[in-house]
Each structure stands twice: as C-alpha cells, then as structure tokens.
C-alpha cells in the first residue's frame, strides 16, 4: 500500500538545506552555532526517517512524487524496506559522526571547517536520496551528487597528496558514473520504465544474453567502484589522507554503502534474481566478490598504517554484501542488507578508535602502538570487541549477517563461496587481533608524555595518512583519561549498539525484519 506523503522528501531536504545554510552562514556565525545546525539537521533527519519505520514494517510505503525530473520521469522518493534500512543507518550514524567530527576537527585544529561540515551534510542528503530513490534516474542524480559532495572531503587537506587522492577518487567515480549513465539510458529506451520493482523489471530472455550481461556490468561498475570491489578499489586506500571522520563517513556511513546499495538496487530491483542469473552477470560478480574478500584480507595483513589496514578490511567486508547479493538466495540477500547495518556500526567504531588514537597521541602506525591500551583502555576495549564482530563471532552484529549469507550460499550449493566466507572470517581475526595484541602488550607508548610522543611518531613515519597539522597532535590528550569525550562517547555508543544488534538483531527499529521483508519481496516469498 502506498501512502503519498512528503516525509521522504523531507528526509532528503533537511540535510541538503543544512548544507546550504552552513555554506552561506557558516563563516559568519560562531562555530558553535554552525555545529548546532549540523546536529539539529542530523537529529531531525533521523527523527523523520525513524518515524516512517512502523508503517514500512506494516507493509506500507511512503511515496513522494515531487516533480518531473525529466520528460516522462518523476523525481520519486519511496520508502521500501531495503531503502529504509540504509536510510536509518545513514541518518543515525550521522548524529554520532557529527559529534565525533566536532571533537576531532577541534582537537585537531582543522582548517576550512565550514566547507567540511557543509560537504558532510550534503553527503548525507545525497545518501538519503540514494536510499529512498524510487527510480533509476532519481537514484543516479543523488549518486552523482554524493560523488561531488564527497570530493571536497577527500581532498580536504588541499596539499599534493590530498589533490592526488581527490583526483583518483573523481577518476574512479566519474568514469563509472558515466557508464552507469549510458546503462540507464539504454534500460529506459529498451524497457520504457525506470521504477525500481522488487524482483526487477527486466525479464530473462528479453535481450541477447551477452548484451544483457554487458548492460548488467555497465550498471554494476557504477556500484562496484564505490563499494570497492577489486579491481576497482584503488581509490579507497588513497582516500585515507582525508581526516578520520571523513574516513568513517566513506567507509561506514555513506559512500561505500551507497555503492553496495547500488549493487543491491541493480541486481534485485532492476534485473531481478532471474534475469541476473540468466545473463550470467551475477555469477561473475560473485566470483569477483569472493576473490576480493580473500585478497583484501591478505593485503590488509601487510598494512602497518592503521587506517590503511582498516581500509582494506572495508574492501573485504563490502564484498560480503556484494557476494550476498550476487548469490541470489533469499537468506543471503537478507544477510547482505543486514550486513550494511552491521558493518556500519562495526567499522565506524574501528575508524573512530583510529581517529581518537591519532588525535590523542599522534600515532597512526600499528607497530608503534605497543602498550597504548594502558593509556586508552576504553578505546582499545571497544576496538577489541568490535574486531571480534568484524570477524563474525557470535553475539556481535557481524555474526547475524554473515550467518545469513553463509546459509544462502549453502542453499544455492555454492560450497566455494562458503569456504571463502569462513576463511575470510579467520583472516579478519589475523589482521585485527594483532593490533589489539600490540596495544595490550608490552611497550611504552602509553607512558611517554603525549605531546612528545606525538612529535616523535610524526618524525618517524611521515609516509602515511598523517603528517598534517604539524605538531598539533598532542593537544587533545595532554592529561586526562583516554580520548576527549566528544570522540570517546560516540565510539562507545556504536560499539554497544553493535553488541546489542548481535544479540537481538531486531532491537530498536527492527532493521533485521526490514532486511527480511526486502529479501522476501525480491525473491517473491522465497524465505
């Protein structure tokens, strides 16, 4: 049942409006007022989105047909189950990242804070648009807006390294975006519709298999680049030069999730399981995803820079989602959608921990963190807990989703994928546990006065993701316990939520039920 309402539009408009407000008035008002805009927008957007959940759970859809976007096509925003999952996650995490951002950029004395917060809000608006888009053109518009809004964040430091990674990011995303563009034109001319339909509107056999496969990959590349499926992941590690909250945004909240969500929309809402497997595209995609899961774990092990290691972990975890979708089993699709949630909470905790460590002590290389847990016990406890979750241990959010994907693969008889999933879980332990081990183990990183160590750490290894804001690293933690509260509280909250979701996946707003509803609609009640 459809409910015509402007609420979905409101959810998209609030952050975009906030972005404009911040852009125009941000440099004229006090920073506190500016941040108040961000937080108000974040809270009200979350409220709007969460207020729609009960009706969606009851099987209804809010639809907003705003105006004609192009001849014959509406700007449609619709709250289907899958979209709601993504929208809920993005909006809820925006509150936490905002709080964390404020702590981080102030602790780190970042420049250009106005532009930073404006772009952040624009990113979230685009992400909400992506989640709620009702047809391909609307989706594409917000997808490209997300690319544009993320670019200033990636290139935030505006030095040569930031420029290079900004260029790389644009190169990857714009090229794939243009391929996506060609594909949606093709789809529109061929099928005369662009509305997302659970189970897809492209019928198997309506086009030559080879051509359909080409079409499939033209569209998938658009999503796969943002989701970082190998070999299209190149931009993600180099985007590490951006400030840590941006990495959290990229990895957990909006950008890579938007890529994974794009894959979901294309495979399940445009092609549908039947056509996707008929043309052979889904099979190939699954192999790429499985290869990425394994390879990225191996690469991650060899990274000493904390953020780089986490980046490759993201590459792998996102491919879980892609694999879950490409396996095309009902359970795996539900698992994939829920993994968007699970990974969001897990990875954001990891990144916020990494950022907190960096701001507090100036350390970014894992090998230098020996004994750091004595100084930052809370941070590292969260880090350790969440690492287990990434590996998929029971009682953590990651377990539920991975179990579902595994079950789906079992049902489809894809034993290799099952093996890959299990192997990757173990590999995840091998690259995340050493961090915990080093931090809780011997070493004097915890004892040396913070600011001195910050400088030392800086001189020792300037090669990676830091080296900005010279000599300012130590400011946050001259004394006191652990990281600044603005950073510590959000990361503890996300860690706790990750545990709660692991014990009771339906806690709060029934995200697991939503994921199952979506999967059921896609596979026409196959669960």
């Amino acid at each position: 049942m459809m409910i015509f309402s402007l609420r979905p539009a409101l959810a998209v408009a609030i952050p975009l409006l906030a972005a404009l407000l911040i852009l125009f008035f941000g440099s004229r008002v006090k920073p506190n007022t500016r941040e108040a805009i961000t937080l108000t927008a974040a809270v009200s957007m979350t409220a709007v989105i969460f207020s729609m959940v009960p009706a969606v759970l009851a099987g209804q859809e809010y639809t907003a047909n705003l105006w004609k976007l192009a001849d014959g096509l509406n700007l449609t925003l619709r709250t289907d189950a899958a979209g709601m999952v993504f929208a809920c996650i993005a909006s809820a995490l925006w509150i936490l990242t905002s709080v964390y951002s404020i702590g981080y950029v102030r602790g780190h004395h970042e420049k250009n804070q106005t532009g930073y917060f404006a772009a952040f809000a624009a990113c979230l608006g685009s992400a909400a648009g992506i989640a709620l888009a009702g047809n391909l053109l609307t989706f594409f518009v917000f997808y490209e807006m997300l690319t544009l809004a993320t670019y200033p964040l990636v290139a935030h430091y505006r030095d040569d390294k930031a420029k290079a990674s900004g260029r790389k990011y644009l190169g990857y995303t714009l090229i794939s975006g243009q391929m996506f563009f060609a594909a949606i034109v093709w789809v529109y001319v061929k099928y005369g519709t662009m509305e997302f339909v659970p189970g897809g509107f492209i019928r198997a056999g309506s086009m030559e298999a080879g051509l359909m496969c080409l079409l499939f990959f033209l569209m998938i590349v658009g999503g796969a680049v943002k989701a970082g499926v190998m070999p299209l992941h190149g931009w993600l590690p180099s985007a590490m030069v951006a400030p840590t909250p941006v990495s959290a945004l990229l990895h957990a909240v909006a950008v890579v999730k938007a890529g994974a969500f794009c894959v979901l929309r294309v495979v399940c809402y445009v092609f549908g399981p039947e056509a996707a497997s008929w043309c052979g595209g889904a099979g190939i995609l699954a192999w790429f995803a499985a290869a990425t899961i394994l390879l990225s774990s191996l690469v991650a092990m060899r990274q000493d820079n904390m953020k780089a290691r986490l980046a490759f972990s993201t590459v792998g975890q996102l491919s879980y989602i892609v694999l879950g979708i490409a396996v095309l089993a009902p359970y795996s699709i539900a698992g994939a959608i829920f993994h968007i949630v699970a990974h969001a909470f897990l990875k954001i905790t990891l990144f916020m921990s990494a950022g907190a460590i960096f701001v507090t002590t100036g350390l970014s290389e894992i090998s230098t963190m020996g004994g750091l847990a004595k100084r930052m016990p809370a941070t590292f406890t969260c880090f350790a807990t969440v690492s287990l979750g990434i590996a998929g241990l029971p009682m953590m959010a990651g377990f539920v989703s991975k179990m579902n994907i595994l079950q789906g693969a079992w049902m489809m008889g894809r034993s290799f994928f099952m093996a890959a999933l299990v192997a990757a879980a173990l590999l995840a332990l091998t690259y995340l546990m050493p961090v915990v081990q080093i931090a809780f183990g011997k070493g004097n990183a915890g004892q040396v006065p913070a600011h001195k160590h910050g400088q030392g750490g800086h001189g020792g290894h300037g090669g990676h993701g830091h080296g900005y804001g010279h000599g300012k690293h130590g400011h946050g933690g001259k004394a006191g316990f652990d990281a600044a509260p603005a950073m510590l509280v959000p990361l503890m909250v996300t860690a706790v939520i990750a545990i709660i979701l692991g014990c009771e996946p339906n806690a709060g707003v029934h995200l697991y039920d939503l994921a199952q509803m979506a999967a059921e609609a896609i596979t026409k009640g196959g669960m």
């Binding site: 004609k68 192009a70 001849d71 290139a155 260029r167 644009l170 243009q178 391929m179 563009f181 034109v185």
Partner: protein, 530 residues
C-alpha cells in the same frame, strides 16, 4: 489603441534597435543616459519576449507576423513558435544581463564618450541581430540579421584586449566567408524555387526537380552556418575571438553568438530541407561526423591550455559538437536535447565568462594557475564557476546533465550508441579540465588573492598585481587598475548577472521536464518533424 500584444514579435527586435540608434543621441546630453536607455530597452525586450513565449505556450499556436502587412511569399514574415520563442527569451535575457554586467567595467576603466556610447550601441545591435536571426521566417532577412550580428560582434571583439583587433579581423574574414556561403545557398534555393519565405521554400522544395542545385545549396548552408557556429573544422576564428573580446562583452559573444546560428541551422534543415530528398541524409552524415570530431577536438584541445578564456573557448567548440550531434540524431529527443543544450550551454558559457570577467576585473588574472585561493575573496563568483563547470561536465542536477540525457536518449532510440560513447568521453575530458580549474581555485597557493581574509585591505592585492606585472603576463585590465572598495566582492551590477546565470542553470535543470514536455516537444513534433 494599438494592440501591443499583436506586435510583440517585432517589438522584441525594435526595442533594442531603438535603444541602439538613440543611445548616442541621448548620451550626448547626459553621459549615463544612453547606457541606461540601452539597459531599459533590452529589459523591455526581455519582458516582451517572455510575454510572447507565454502566449505561445498558452495557445499552442505559433505566432505569424507579417511586416508591413505584406503576406508571404511577398513580404517578410516573422514566425515565433515554442522553439525559437525560447531562444528569443534566452537571447533577450543574456543581452540584458550582459548590458547590466558591463557598467562597472566602464567605471573602472573610464573611457571617452564615444567609446562608452559605442560599446552600448554595439551590445544593443548585437542583440538586435541575434533576436532577428531567431525570429525571422525569411531566408534573405536572416542574412541581413546575420551580418548585423557579425559587424557588431567584430566591434566588440576589437575593443577588447591588445590582440582583439587581430582576432576581430580574422573573425571578419571567416565570418564574411560564412555569410557569403549562406547567401550563395539562398541564391541557389531562390533559383530553384523562386521564393525566399522559409515555409514557402519548404513547400516548393518538395516538388522541386533540380536535386543537385538543392544539394549544393544545402552544402553551402552547412558551411555558412558551420562557420558562424564554430563547428569543427570551421572553428578557426573562434578561440582567439572568444579569448580576446572585451571582457564584459565576452559573455554575450561566447554565450549566444554561436548558439543562434546553430538554431538557424536547425530551422533551415528541419523546416526547409526536410522533404528535399537526399539532402537530409547528407546532412545527418556530415553533421554527425563533424559533431563527433568537434566534441573530441574541442575537449582535447582545452586540456592543453591554462588560460581561462582559451579553455572556455575550446570547450565551446566541443559543446557546439553536442548540438550538432543532436541535429544528426534527428528524432524528437535528439532535437529536444540539442535545443535544451543551446539554452543551457548559453547560460553556462555566459556564466563562466562572467566569472572570467569578474576575475579580470578584480585581480586582472586570466591564467588559471593564478586562481589560487581566490574563492576566499570571491565566494559567490566561485560558486557560480562551480555550478557552471559541473553543468558543463554534465553532472546532475544541473541543466547540462539533462541536455546530455535527452541527447543520449535520442541516440539510443536510433541505435546510434557511438554518439553516447562520444558524449561520455567528452564529459570525462571536460571533467578533467574543469576540475583542474576548481582544484587550482581551491587548493593552489594564493598568488593574487594574497593573505587571509583577516588581513583585509587592498594593499597586498595591489602589491601582488604589481609583482605580477613584472613577470610580464598580466592582463591589460590589471594595468588599468580597478578601484572597487565596496562591501561585497563585486559591484551589484556584476553580482546580479552572475547569480542569475547560476540560477538559470539550476532552474533549467530542475524545470527541464516542463520545458521539454510542454514547450519544445510539441513544437518539434508539429513544426520540425511533421
């Protein structure tokens, strides 16, 4: 009482004409009066154009106006339908915006009576020529308006920078060849049919026997319009002309002076040659290939320059290729995309040249390497630059994306996937050169916009400009120093056109469905593809 509404088609042209003619007389008495009169006339013309378009949309019927009451085929006829109604509004709007935009330049750079008056005269005449070209339904009348446009254009280019006269002279050579070729084509058509009215021509050509003559005429027309619209490989005059024209007139020259001939080509081929046997096949092939080559050439060439105006000029060659590709696609969506691109690209290029002029006005910079951190001092200008640039690349939700969307839609409907491939490649190439500019604007070290905002004062700026002069690559405007000490970044006369251009791009982007669905598509179906 005379019914003004019935005379709108001619009023749109007559008002700027009056302004142009009376401007010298009026300003003889009061220096600024002529300028104001030209602005007023152009604004009234814009009002008339909008009213006229609104009437056409309401009634759904094209307006026919017979000059002097002489009915075709004997008299000159003005025909305004949805498509050229929109083009007329575009021309009138940009002319008015540019006339407003020009006045601070004059204050910064006080000229003698004759020059200042002459400038506004030329702007006004340029508007007359372009409006006439888009309104007229008579082939020879089109030639006359084409030459009015060209001559005023030569003047505006020549009073620009130091190289202006050379650029103007070369444009004069090329432009005259173009106009002569067009005239030759008209001669052939007249010889074959004995009429000059476009509608009448179309009717006669259907039954004309002299096929070769008509093909020859069509070839002449392609060359003629091709030179005027800077279609590859007939673009030779364009980069210099667009780079060295007077900075305040440049937006108009670059924005609409190459768009109106493109519209003329559309009108001629789809309304006159439509049924003339082999002509259209020839036209599709030639214009399609030239369009593709132009898109690739313009985009690649723009990569090689670091002078802002040169980049914009070469990008125009590519963008004209888009329009040509739209003509070559030739179905409803292809043509709608082409017309939408005429409109949207006019605003984008005008907006970009407004920013170029603003940067010259304030800092005298014209090399993109010197743009570092300028955005801190000129946030609104930079915002316009970004919006225009993103629209040029073809990113949603700006107007440029949607014209590309319709072009691609039309191309795929015809099975011409190669056009889509070219559009995509060109988008990516333009992304390279525009993001390079944006990157320099935001990330390069400050050169001219010296110092943080807290420093304030104009002293560092002047110093920077003087230092620059020593390096010998300072623009003529930097030497004639501006002395603008207002509170905003630029005088309001410049801010308003900048903002309007940006708003127009966003408006065209978000309102494209209405424009295409309600205005362009019905007209294209009834008039151009009937």
């Amino acid at each position: 009482m005379i019914n003004i509404m019935a005379h709108l088609p001619v009023l749109v042209i007559a008002l700027p004409l009056c302004g142009a003619v009376l401007c010298p007389l009026v300003s003889w008495h009061h220096a600024a009066a002529g300028k104001r009169m030209v602005m007023t006339c152009l604004f009234l013309s814009l009002v008339c154009a909008v009213t006229q378009l609104a009437g056409i949309i309401r009634t759904g019927e094209p307006v026919h106006y017979y000059l002097g009451g002489w009915h075709p085929p004997y008299g000159i006829e003005f025909v305004v339908d949805g498509v050229n109604g929109a083009v007329i509004v575009l021309v009138a709007a940009i002319s008015w915006m540019t006339s407003l935009y020009s006045s601070p330049f004059e204050r910064a750079n006080p000229r003698k009576w004759f020059q200042s008056t002459g400038y506004y005269c030329l702007i006004s005449f340029l508007a007359v020529g372009l409006l006439g070209m888009s309104t007229t339904g008579d082939a020879f009348n089109l030639y006359v308006f084409m030459e009015i446009t060209a001559i005023s254009g030569y003047g505006l280019i020549a009073i620009g920078e130091e190289k202006g006269p050379i650029a103007a002279f070369r444009y004069l050579m090329a432009g005259t060849i173009g106009a002569s070729m067009y005239l030759l084509g008209v001669g052939f058509l007249y010889a074959a049919t004995g009429t000059l009215n476009m509608a009448d021509l179309a009717a006669h050509l259907e039954s004309a026997h002299s096929g070769n003559l008509i093909v020859l005429a069509a070839a002449c027309m392609i060359v003629g319009f091709g030179i005027k619209m800077a279609l590859f490989p007939l673009h030779g005059w364009q980069p210099a002309a667009h780079s060295y024209a007077h900075p305040s007139a440049d937006p108009m020259i670059a924005g609409i002076m190459i768009k109106v001939p493109a519209y003329g080509m559309l009108r001629f081929f789809y309304c006159v040659f439509r049924d003339a046997g082999p002509v259209m096949d020839l036209f599709f092939d030639v214009i399609g290939i030239l369009g593709i080559c132009g898109i690739l050439y313009g985009s690649l060439k723009a990569l090689r320059y670091s002078t802002y105006n040169k980049i914009l000029a070469f990008s125009s060659i590519g963008q004209v290729g888009y329009i040509a590709v739209g003509f070559a696609i030739g179905n409803v969506y292809g043509l709608a995309g082409a017309v939408l691109h005429i409109l949207s690209h006019a605003f984008m290029k005008t907006g970009l040249f407004y920013t170029s002029g603003a940067l010259k006005y304030k800092y005298g910079v014209h090399v993109t390497d010197d743009f570092g951190q300028v955005y801190r001092k000129m946030p609104q200008t930079s915002l316009t630059l970004i919006i225009c640039a993103l629209s040029m690349i073809g990113l949603p939700p700006f107007a440029g994306f949607f014209s590309k969307w319709y072009l691609a839609l039309g191309a795929i409907q015809n099975g011409q996937w190669y056009f889509v491939a070219v559009l995509i490649v060109s988008s990516l190439l333009s992304a390279i050169y525009f993001f390079r500019i944006i990157e320099k604007l935001f990330m390069n070290r400050a050169t001219v916009a010296e110092g943080e905002p807290s420093h304030g004062g104009h002293e560092p700026l002047r110093k920077a400009a003087e230092e620059h002069e020593n390096f010998g690559r300072v623009h003529i405007m930097a030497r004639k120093k501006h002395h603008f000490d207002g509170h905003s970044e630029l005088p309001w006369q410049m801010m308003v056109p900048l903002a309007l251009a940006a708003l127009a791009i966003i408006g065209l982007g978000l309102g494209n469905a209405w424009l295409v669905g309600e205005v362009l598509k019905p007209t294209l179906m009834e008039v151009f593809l009937a």
